[in-house]
Each structure stands twice: as C-alpha cells, then as structure tokens.
C-alpha cells in the first residue's frame, strides 16, 4: 500500500539561502513523525511548502500515491492537510468560532450559522478535553488555549495530515503533557502527524519516527525505538566546525556588566525573560546559546534600551542602566549589533557613510555647531570601508544596495570602531556567507582581546562553540546551567538547548522522564 505522504526531492531557494536541498521523506498513515533540526535546518520551509504557504522550486508531493499540486492554502486544506503555525495565525479581536470558520465555503449562501458552528466546535472541544468556550475572544485566552484554537481549526476541516510547528514552544510543562494526550488521541483516530521540533525529549516521548534535517538536507530517518537522545543530538548538531575556533581569552579582568534577576515581558504578554542574572567581564565572550524563541531576543532588547524590563536591575560599570535609552547607553560605551539589520540596525535609504556616522552625528568632527561636515563623514567612512573591507560600495552608496554580508560589516564597523567597552551582539552572522561570518567573528574576538566585554546571543551553535569563553544556555526564559567554552561537548549543549538541565541543577520544571 502506498505511503500516505511522500515528498520527493523538494527544493526551495530564497534569495540568498537554499532552504531545502532535495529533501525527501515518506510518511505512513497513522505515523507521528518528528522533523528535527536546528534553526535554519529547513524544517519550517519544508512544511510551509506542503501547506501551500510557499511554492516549491522543484520536487514532487504525492498523497496516497497520487501526485498533487499545492499552490495555496486552499489546495492543502482540500487535500486534508492542516498546519498549526508556530506563530499563531489568529485574529485576536474575533471569537474562537469566528476564527475557526473563517474562509469556509458552506452551501448556505452568505449567512453564517454561528450558533450551529459554535455547537459543533464545543463538541469538538469537549471530545478532546480542550475546555474552550467558543464565544470567547482570542485575545482573552491564555496562550495555551490559543494554540488549541489553532488545533480546532484543522480539526474542524477534518485534516488527517496535521502539521505542528514547534507546538510546545509556548506551553508550560503541564500543558505539554495535556498536549501529548491530545496527539495520542489523534493518532488513535488514524490521523497522521508531522511534528516540527528541536526538543529531543518530546521526540522520544510522543513520536514514532524522526527525520533529521541539517542545513537544508536530510541527514537521517530513524524509528524512535531504534535511537536515543544522544544519537539524535549528534545527528542534529554534529558537523565539522569548518571555521577555526577562536583562541580562548587571555586577559579577563573586571566586571563590566551585572544583570540581576531580569524579567522582561514578551509580545504575547507572557514572561519572555524569567529572572536572568549574570556577570560579564572585560576581555571575555559570554555566549548565550538557545533555540529561537526562548527569550534571547527580549533579553538583548532590554539590555540595549529598546525594551523595558519590568523587574530586575542592569548595571554597567557601576551605573544603573536598567531604564536607559539607546542614546544614553551609547554614551557609556555600549555597542549593539541588532538581529534585524534592515529594520533596526540601518537606515536602508541612507548612504553607507551616513549610517556609519549616525550614532555620533552630533559630535565633532562629524558636525560643528549643528552643521554636518561631509568631508569628515566621507573620509571616516572611507577609512572604515578600507579597514573593514566592506565590498561593493562607495561611501555614498545606499545601504540597501549592499549585500547582507556587507550591510552587517557596516554595522560592525560602526559599532566597533569606537573600541567599545561592552558589546551586545545578537545573531550577528544571521544570513551571511562564509567569509562574512568569518569576518564578523574575527572582529568580535579582536574586540575581546582589546578588552571589551562581549555578550554574544546566537542560535547558531557552532558560533557559540567557537567563540565563547563561557556559555549559558537559555531555555524558556531562564538559564539552564553555565558551561565553559572552547572545550565543552557540543552534545551537552545540544541537550540543554533541547530542555535537559545540567546534572545537579535545581529545576522545579523538571520534566517527567518517559
């Protein structure tokens, strides 16, 4: 009998990145298949192609042995495919019922039978113990229940191929257990589940089989009963670190930044950063590893003045900077490489030279009595372009004309030229090619050796491994346990990133081993 779902050599390229490189997989009916991999491995892209959100460049999708064409979400829905996104696709102001029935074509003309639909949804909700009142507005529901609404959406459309993208990312441990019960019910009903995740324990707990992706390629297909967490971690993470690891720090000196019990709220109103404390010394690189979505972004924003911490304290060189704005932090010698170079880090329609000068525009020599000295700005930018080897541009090229790598170089050049005392770098090599990555990493090390305190927040594990003198892993908004850099076993980090605490640390959120 033909497998229920077969994906053959799917290829999907974005402007600068090959997200899926001839990925193939086969899933039987009733299987719970995990798609495992790090950030950027290609799992979400693959499933987005399956659901019609993206169109694949080449490859085939077969359902029940028959080739199908999926050009938009409607096609996918009609084929019985449903997807629960990692970032909920819910309309906050509408009710559960309204969100569930949106877009449905029914034969009753223009009228919507809200009452009837509500009854059906309530029945569905009761069947799986969702405890959802269909008349409540999404914005009034806690996140865990909001996810159940997403599930109701696909149940209502009777999807028998269900895709879940990092479903437990926003759930508390208790909710996770309830979620697993629900998955078991679906499996018993004969539905097929595709489970995108980076969490090894969940894979081992609930899934039947695993497809591991790495750098857009399939690395392995195994049955859960034939493998172990350690082996999965190795497949997921283990690759030759082709970039030379940095020399360990030689001169770690005084404390530059002290963070104490920091709490920051995330976009959904929940805590994204839960009581983080650490100290950062001059001359060291502290790497914060973790999978995207565990609070590192909010932490970085709070430390650089773009977000507010509602509890806790930040001290830089003895000065309380918890509520300082970017301009004030810059004066203290803080450098910030933001994760989004196009939205935050640069003004795309400004020239390279203007972007290089913007943070210091009020000061001599860039301006005198409020009048800009073009010559100085230009000379300054030419110096930086030469010394940082920024390619493909003249000083007056627009930032948007540069490649991603060179844009990042502009930001790095601007931030590091001042010999900052403290650097906060968030995803500094995202979307860059090898030489640009090498360059940025080299610069971070150079600054460290010159005495800067570097906080490196990255989801790229080998970046942390090669650069950090000390490692903290952030998981669900808190640190899981410090690790030394440079000599640490990548597996150990992999396990912590995926939710296992370091042996011996206190953890009231301890998962039940299964």
């Amino acid at each position: 009998m033909a497998p229920l779902l077969e994906i053959k050599e799917l290829r999907k390229q974005f402007t600068s990145v090959l997200a899926n490189d001839k990925v193939s997989l086969t899933v039987e009916k009733g299987e719970v298949r995990a798609l495992l991999g790090e950030n950027g491995a290609g799992k979400s892209t693959l499933m987005s192609c399956l659901y019609g959100l993206y169109s694949m460049d080449s490859g085939e999708i077969l359902i029940d042995g028959k080739k199908v064409s999926i050009t938009d979400c409607d096609d996918a829905i009609r084929l019985g495919i449903g997807m629960v996104n990692q970032h909920f696709m819910l309309i906050q102001k509408l009710t559960v019922t309204e969100n569930v029935i949106l877009g449905l074509k029914n034969p009753r003309g223009p009228w919507v039978d809200y009452a009837g639909a509500t009854k059906k949804i309530k029945k569905l909700s009761d069947r799986y113990n969702f405890c959802i009142d269909p008349n409540s507005k999404i914005e009034d529901l806690p996140v865990g229940l909001q996810q159940r609404v997403e599930i109701l959406k696909i149940l209502y459309r009777q999807s028998n191929i269900m895709i879940f993208d990092e479903p437990t990312a926003v759930l508390t441990p208790n909710e996770v257990l309830e979620f697993f019960e629900i998955i078991k019910m679906f499996r018993n009903e004969g539905r097929t589940i595709l489970f995108i995740t980076h969490k090894l324990n969940e894979v081992m707990t609930i899934c039947d089989s695993v497809t591991v992706l790495r750098d857009g390629k399939t690395v392995g297909n195994v049955l859960v009963k034939d493998t172990s967490e350690a082996e999965l971690a190795r497949m997921m993470v283990g690759r030759e670190i082709f970039l030379k690891p940095a020399e360990p720090a030689k001169n770690i000196r005084q404390i530059v930044m002290r963070v104490d019990n920091l709490h920051v709220k995330g976009s959904m109103g929940l805590d994204a950063v839960r009581g983080i404390s650490f100290e950062l010394h001059s001359g060291e690189i502290l790497g914060i590893a973790g999978v995207d979505g565990n609070g590192q972004l909010e932490l970085g924003n709070a430390l650089s003045g773009l977000a507010k911490a509602y509890l806790g304290k930040v001290e830089i060189l003895g000065i309380d900077t918890t509520h300082k704005k970017p301009a004030g932090l810059h004066k203290l010698g803080l450098s910030h490489i933001p994760p989004d170079r196009q939205k935050t880090g640069l003004i795309m329609d400004y020239s390279v030279q203007d972007n290089l000068a913007i943070k210091e525009i009020n000061r001599f020599p860039f301006s005198r009595y409020g009048i800009i000295s073009r010559k100085e700005i230009r000379a300054h930018s030419q110096r930086l372009i030469d010394s940082f080897n920024i390619r493909g541009c003249w000083p007056d090229s627009w930032a948007k004309q540069l490649s991603g790598g060179n844009q990042q170089k502009v930001i790095v050049a601007r931030e590091f030229e001042q010999k900052p005392k403290l650097i906060i770098a968030i995803q500094p090599t995202r979307g860059l090619d090898i030489s640009a990555i090498e360059f940025v990493r080299g610069e971070l090390v150079k600054q460290r050796d010159a005495g800067a305190a570097v906080l490196l927040i990255s989801t790229e594990l080998d970046e942390i491994l090669s650069l950090a003198d000390r490692i903290e892993v952030i998981y669900e908004g808190a640190f899981t346990g410090s690790l030394p850099g440079h000599s640490v076993d990548p597996l150990e980090i992999g396990l912590q990133m995926a939710g296992r605490k370091k042996a011996g640390t206190c953890d009231e959120n301890e998962r039940e081993a299964t």
Binding site: T15, L306, P326, K343, Y350, I358, I371, W394
Partner: protein, 357 residues
C-alpha cells in the same frame, strides 16, 4: 584607492526628475482634455496655457508671483513630510499668518521702521508654527492621524479669518471684508516697476536655499530625514523621534505662515477674505512632485504657479473653470506614485524570477 565619485547609478537620480515631468505632462494632457470642446482643440488649450504662462514678460512675471506662496507652502509640506508627517494644514496656517501679519503691517507704531517687514514676517511665521504645533504633538505622542486634525483646523482657521475680516479687523472704509491697507513700510515692493513680481521672490530663493541647507547639511535635517525613512532605526541610533516630529511640524507651520504673510505683503498690501485660492492645497502637488527636495520645489512651484496663472487667464478669457488644474495635479501625483509602485513590483518580480523564489 577608490576614486571619489558617486556610486549612484545615473538613471536613478534622473528617474527622480523624469518621472515627475512625465507625470506632469500626462496630467496636463488629460486635464486639458476635460476642457476641450468643439470650439477649442487640445492643441489650442495647450497653446493658450503656454502663452498664459510664459508668453509675455508680464505673463511670466505673473507666474512668478504665484510661484512665491506656492514655493513657501510647498517647502512647508516637504519639511514635515520629510519626517513622515503630512501637513495638510498649510492652508489654515498661511491664512492665520496673513491675518496676524495684517495686524503688524497696519500698526502705526512701526510705521517707517526698517523692522516693519521682518516683524510682520515673523508674526506670520510664529502664528503658522503655533497652528501646526497641536497636530504635531498629537501625531508624535498619540499617533493621531495628522490629516484629519490639520484638515479640521483648516476649516476653523478660514472661519476665524472670515470673522476677523468681517468684524474687528475690517477696514471701515471698504465695502468688502478686508483689512485696512498696510502701511508702506511693510510692503514688499516690486523688483521691477512694470512687472508685479515682488521682493517676496527674493526671500523665497533665500528660504529655499536655507531649507535645502538645513535638510541636507545640518544634523537637524539629518535626523528629520532619518525619522521619516525609518523611525525604528532612528530610535535605535539614539534619535529622539517624538521631538524631531514635533519640531518638523513647527518649522513646517512657520514656512506655511510665511507663505501667507508674503502674499499679502507683496501682492495686495492688505488681506481680504479669500485671498488664497488654495495655495496650501496646491502645495501638496508641488511638494510631492519635487520629491520633497527644496531646490526641486522652486521649479515645481514655478510650474504650478505658471499653470494657475495661465488657467486663470483661460477662465477670464474663455470662461473655462480654473478647477481643471486640480485634475492635472491629481493625475500627476497619481502617475508618479503609481510608477514608483509599479517599478517596485517589477523589481520584486524580476528578483523572484532570478532566484526562483
């Protein structure tokens, strides 16, 4: 060593000039088509327009006269829009400014003083900026739609002016609602006696240069444009976004105020109700078609001023409603903005083809 030349592709900056010109031509042709009938062909209309605009020295001078208030109010809109705020309230600001100028210009205390002109202008600028302050604050700190607020204030301003000119400030000797004549020391005199272009034109050139300088050569202008292009990036770079937004509105209001003051000081030497045929609204097209560049606004203002002049002649001579120039304005703006949009779509489309996205 890299040569010190510009990296911008030549066609890019040329495009910024070519598109508006084409847009204007398209606008003129289609706008003029509206007034074509069996008695007059398109060719005739265009010819009349051309003659009315620059056909004789006095026509040319009249065009320059219209250029002056359009230039100032165009600068006003350009300045605020550079920070991302659309100041449609220029009309109200210039009317109130003209009213205030009238107070100063008719004041005997300053008669004969060389300060008369500067103070009259200053009064207008201050009032203009005050009338723009409220919408600026509301937009920057509360995010209120500035178009609605400034439009409402426009209507209020025009009614206020009407009240004053029919009431407290009315010239007792006049039949129409207008102020007393301005004292001669407050007049902006003609540059050449036979032609009606007045020294306001000189002031305009000076202010255009100053505005250009401020926007492109000072840190203030640098920050304004940064906020207009990317408020989030500007905030990250340490710029106080709200303060810049409010300041840009204040300056914008001052510029609009000067537009009104200069007009009454140079053309009529008094203020009367309805002295502005809608300069504040023409200014929208003036600013948008010049791409918010002060130097470009000089030309764009001249163009629309000449158009208004010529169309006015058409109205007097042939009874053609002057309103068709608004069709030209609207079509030109739409053309420019649509072609920007289309070229952006084409760019995306080409990029997608290239990378198989």
């Amino acid at each position: 060593m890299k040569a010190a030349r510009s990296s911008q592709p030549a066609w890019g900056s040329l495009n910024k000039i070519v598109t508006p010109i084409v847009g204007v031509i398209v606008g003129i042709i289609f706008g003029s088509l509206v007034v074509v009938n069996k008695d007059r062909s398109l060719f005739m209309v265009l010819g009349q327009l051309f003659y009315g605009a620059f056909g004789s020295w006095s026509n040319f001078s009249a065009s320059l006269v219209y250029t002056i208030p359009l230039g100032f109010s165009g600068l006003a809109i350009a300045f605020s829009y550079s920070a991302g705020i659309f100041n449609i309230g220029a009309e109200g600001q210039l009317q109130l400014a003209a009213l205030t100028t009238a107070v100063v210009a008719t004041s005997t205390a300053l008669a004969g003083s060389f300060l008369h002109i500067p103070l009259a202008l200053l009064a207008g600028a201050v009032v203009g900026s005050l009338w723009a302050l409220l919408p600026g604050l509301l937009k920057a700190y509360k995010g209120f739609n500035e178009i609605v607020v400034t439009m409402l204030l426009n209507y209020v301003a025009i009614l206020l002016v009407s009240f004053f000119l029919q009431g407290p400030m009315k010239d007792p000797k006049a039949y129409f609602p207008q102020s007393r004549p301005f004292l001669e020391s407050s007049w902006l005199k003609r540059i050449i006696p036979q032609f009606n272009v007045h020294y306001g034109f000189v002031i305009l050139i000076v202010v255009v240069l100053i505005t250009w300088f401020v926007l492109y050569k000072t840190t203030f202008g640098f920050k304004i444009r940064a906020v207009g292009l990317n408020p989030e990036g500007a905030r990250y770079a340490g710029i106080n976004v709200e303060r810049i937004m409010v300041l840009s509105m204040v300056v914008s209001g001052a510029l609009a105020g000067i537009a009104g003051s200069v007009e009454v000081m140079g053309v009529y030497h008094r203020i009367m109700e309805g002295f502005s045929p809608g300069y504040g609204y023409d200014a929208i097209a003036v600013a948008l078609l010049a791409n918010l560049n002060p130097l470009g606004i000089l030309f764009s203002a001249f163009f629309f001023g000449a158009l208004r002049n010529a169309a006015g002649g058409l109205q007097v001579d042939f009874g053609i409603s002057i309103s068709f120039i608004y069709i030209i304005q609207a079509l030109a703006i739409l053309f420019v903005i649509a072609s920007n949009g289309i070229s952006r779509q084409l760019l995306n489309y080409r990029r997608r083809l290239h990378h198989g996205n």
